[in-house]
């Protein structure tokens, strides 16, 4: 039987295992939404407040579950509003399929109303994209989109469907199963042998892991390797949650605002074993960060990452789970007591630095307002291990990354690569819809200003989302750089707004409260975390709070700032 292109899209999404999708209707996807209306009992569509929020929701859905997130938007502005969301997913390798409507084929290229070349626009920020001009290719194109999104290094794929293709009729045959990814690449035995030889002869190994460990489901292998070869573990922002924070070998996030111990240990190691990372300039600097005698083993599913930012002595393209299983078998059991003695010193030194920085901040605050760590502790002590922690971008993101006790993979969602302010609430909506669990968004007053419209979605969907605003009245991350490197010339980072976020929450139909003291915070945290609907806690934070330690851009390890007097 012939069915419409719009129905083919909906049937293919269901066939691919989509239960919840996100989007926003419009003139060129009206046929698609008409079919979604008929299929309501089989696939749920969540309408966001803004297409960007919908894209971040699809992203949050994917990050929290590992499944492909789907977002639908209309042509023109609907499609361009997805762009930041797609780029965010691309930079963090999140599997996503974005479906856009477009004007009818006969109108393409004429600058018709709400027409843009979204395929051209998204070419550099998708793994691949398509425009489907022949309805006969529609179902298979969508299947290929899913296949590409979830194969190898995952990422977003966009499918643009002109309105006449949605309206045309065609035979459709359902696939019984969702498409399976392209076969994985497996590491060559020879390369693994070379890696094992380096591991077996090193004295000071350090494992630096990233988001690839989460998408490659290799958390257990990473810790098993660390135990066998007696290595400390550190990670990039994207690696957080892959290994439990209370693992005795875990030194925390490394890099620009990473933990002192992991950042220095990486620099002092004689062997860095980099797993599922891309040596981002924020996490690992450039190769000048590594002393000449440091050897590097780099394993990644994406061959293009090898030698891209930092040249490796042994570069291995392959699935991480499998590569590590085999590498663990080849590696000799080792003990490096001297190295661990040094790690112990670094940990002690870190404690001293942290205590000094906290007490300096406390003195600056003079007993007023809340400290960022105190806010995080008040929430984490009540939240439970299964809560999904989401952040926006800025100081609050780094404080959360440094402090929040993350224990299970896929419980920390943050825009690492693109650094998208306004990512958080959309992503929290997506994660809450996907998991049904509590989602806690740590955000700042700057970031929240960019995504607060999604409170409407959180309320309409009655989602258990707790929003914690670290409200310092400034764009703190940029201000911090102005403080340290621009002579305190605070150009346009003082917001000087008088938004009452508690009232704003109420206006949206959520609950909200304001905390300026520890007692107020405790009370609100109790209330918010026992409430299963959206709750906004507006926390007063001093505008001069700093994220420390800080490794200035392009600086070496000796330039690390651990304390501001």
């Amino acid at each position: 039987m012939k069915i419409s292109g719009a129905k083919i899209v909906v049937e293919t999404l269901i066939e691919q295992g989509c239960d919840t999708i996100f989007g926003y209707p419009g003139g060129q996807v009206i046929d698609l939404f008409d079919e979604l209306y008929s299929a309501e009992s089989r696939i749920k569509h969540i309408i966001a407040a803004h297409e960007q929020g919908a894209a971040h929701a699809a992203d949050g859905y994917a990050r929290s579950t590992g499944k492909v997130g789907v977002v639908i938007a209309t042509s023109g502005p609907g499609a361009t509003n997805l762009v930041t969301g797609i780029a965010t997913a691309y930079l963090d390798s999140v599997p996503m399929v974005a479906i856009t409507g477009n004007v009818a084929c006969s109108l393409i290229g004429r600058d018709s109303f709400q027409e843009v070349d979204i395929v051209g626009i998204t070419m550099p920020i998708t793994k691949h994209n398509f425009i489907v001009k022949d309805i006969k290719e529609l179902a298979d194109t969508l299947r290929t989109a899913f296949k590409i999104a979830k194969s190898g290094r995952q990422g977003p794929v966009l499918v643009d469907i002109p309105q006449d293709v949605q309206q045309a009729l065609c035979e459709y045959e359902s696939n019984a199963q969702p498409v399976i990814p392209y076969p994985l690449t497996f590491a060559s035995e020879d390369k693994l042998q070379k890696a094992a030889a380096l591991i077996n002869s090193c004295e000071k190994p350090y494992i630096y892991f990233g988001g690839g460990v989460i998408s490659g489901k290799a958390s257990q292998q990473v810790t098993a390797l660390a135990e066998k070869i007696d290595a400390p573990l550190g990670c990039s922002l994207m690696g957080l949650s892959a290994v439990s924070c209370d693992h005795p070998r875990f030194l925390g996030m490394q890099g620009m605002h990473g933990h002192f111990a992991s950042t220095v240990a990486q620099n002092e190691a004689d062997l860095v074993i980099a797993l599922g990372v891309r040596f981002s300039n924020r996490a690992a600097g450039d190769d000048s960060r590594y002393p000449k005698h440091t050897s590097i083993i780099h394993i990644d599913i994406d061959g293009a990452e090898l030698h891209k930012n930092v040249p490796a002595d042994v570069a291995i393209k392959g699935d991480l789970h499998d590569s590590l299983e085999r590498l663990i078998a080849m590696a000799e059991e080792k003990k490096h007591p001297q190295w661990w003695e040094r790690i112990g010193q670094l940990r002690t030194e870190e404690k001293t630095h942290t205590a000094a920085a906290l007490s300096a901040a406390k003195a600056r605050r003079g007993g007023r307002k809340l400290s960022p760590y105190e806010i995080i502790d008040a929430i984490s002590s009540r939240a439970g291990e299964d809560a999904v922690i989401v952040t926006d971008v800025g100081q609050h993101q780094m404080w959360t990354a440094q402090r929040y006790p993350l224990k299970k993979p896929r419980t920390f969602l943050s825009s690492g690569g693109l650094g998208t302010m306004g990512f958080g609430l959309g992503a929290a909506v997506g994660a809450a819809c996907a998991t049904g669990r509590r989602c806690i968004l740590f955000t700042g007053d700057g970031s929240f200003g960019m995504d607060l419209c999604e409170l409407a979605t959180a309320v309409s969907q009655k989602l258990p989302i707790t929003v914690v605003i670290m409200n310092n009245g400034v764009l703190g991350m940029v201000r911090q750089m102005q403080t340290l490197f621009y002579d305190k010339r605070y150009s346009n980072t003082t917001l000087d707004r008088s938004t009452d976020f508690a009232k704003l929450a109420e206006a949206f139909g959520a609950k909200g409260g304001h905390a300026a003291s520890a007692e107020e915070l405790e009370k609100l945290a109790d209330e918010a975390l026992s409430c299963n609907t959206p709750f906004v806690i507006d926390c007063e934070v001093d505008s001069d709070e700093l994220v420390l330690p800080m490794l200035p851009n392009g600086g070496s390890i000796d330039d690390m700032i651990t304390e501001i007097k």
Partner: protein
């Protein structure tokens, strides 16, 4: 060490594929010296020949990034020594009695061909390696080049070796 590389790329013959390939170079900050594209013996595929300058590291990164593109089926660096490289030039010069004989001599020596002759202009066609084309242009410069266009290089390996995707 910096050198010129010539790579052959087999791609699916679909709309947008040239944008994807050239866009990758732009986005990653690699420079293209020459790019040509045309059909292959199999109708579903096109062959792109790209020349670029760079060191071993740049070359590797370009290959890796190209291999990641969904429409790219095969990428190979063509060994300069074992590859026939050709370019086509069409060049128009002034047709004046006092220089005509000199032009004709150059055409003969370079095994070029006159493909258009008018009272005021002469158009020559020349194929050859880039260096030969460059030399010919240099030679004609003093006679007044009216306009010229060159195709960029195409390249194919000598002997049995083939760059094929359909096996």
């Amino acid at each position: 060490m910096e050198q010129q590389y010539v790579i052959g790329v087999i791609v699916a013959n679909v709309s947008g594929v040239l944008s994807r390939v050239s866009g990758m170079f732009t986005r990653r900050g690699f420079n293209i010296d020459s790019l040509t594209v045309g059909e292959t013996e199999s109708s579903g595929f096109s062959r792109i020949t790209i020349a670029f300058h760079g060191d071993e590291d740049i070359k590797e990164r370009i290959l890796q990034q190209l291999q990641k593109l969904h429409d790219v089926r095969e990428v190979e660096v063509l060994d300069n020594k074992d590859t026939v490289i050709r370019e086509l030039l069409l060049i128009k010069v002034r047709n004046k009695a006092e220089i005509r004989q000199d032009i004709m001599t150059a055409v003969e020596i370079f095994r070029s061909k006159i493909v258009d002759y008018s009272p005021t202009s002469l158009t020559c066609e020349l194929t050859g390696e880039t260096s030969k084309i460059d030399a010919f242009i240099e030679l004609l410069k003093p006679f007044g080049i009216m306009e010229m266009c060159r195709t960029g290089i195409v390249a194919i390996e000598r002997g049995e070796n083939c760059l094929k995707t359909v096996k």
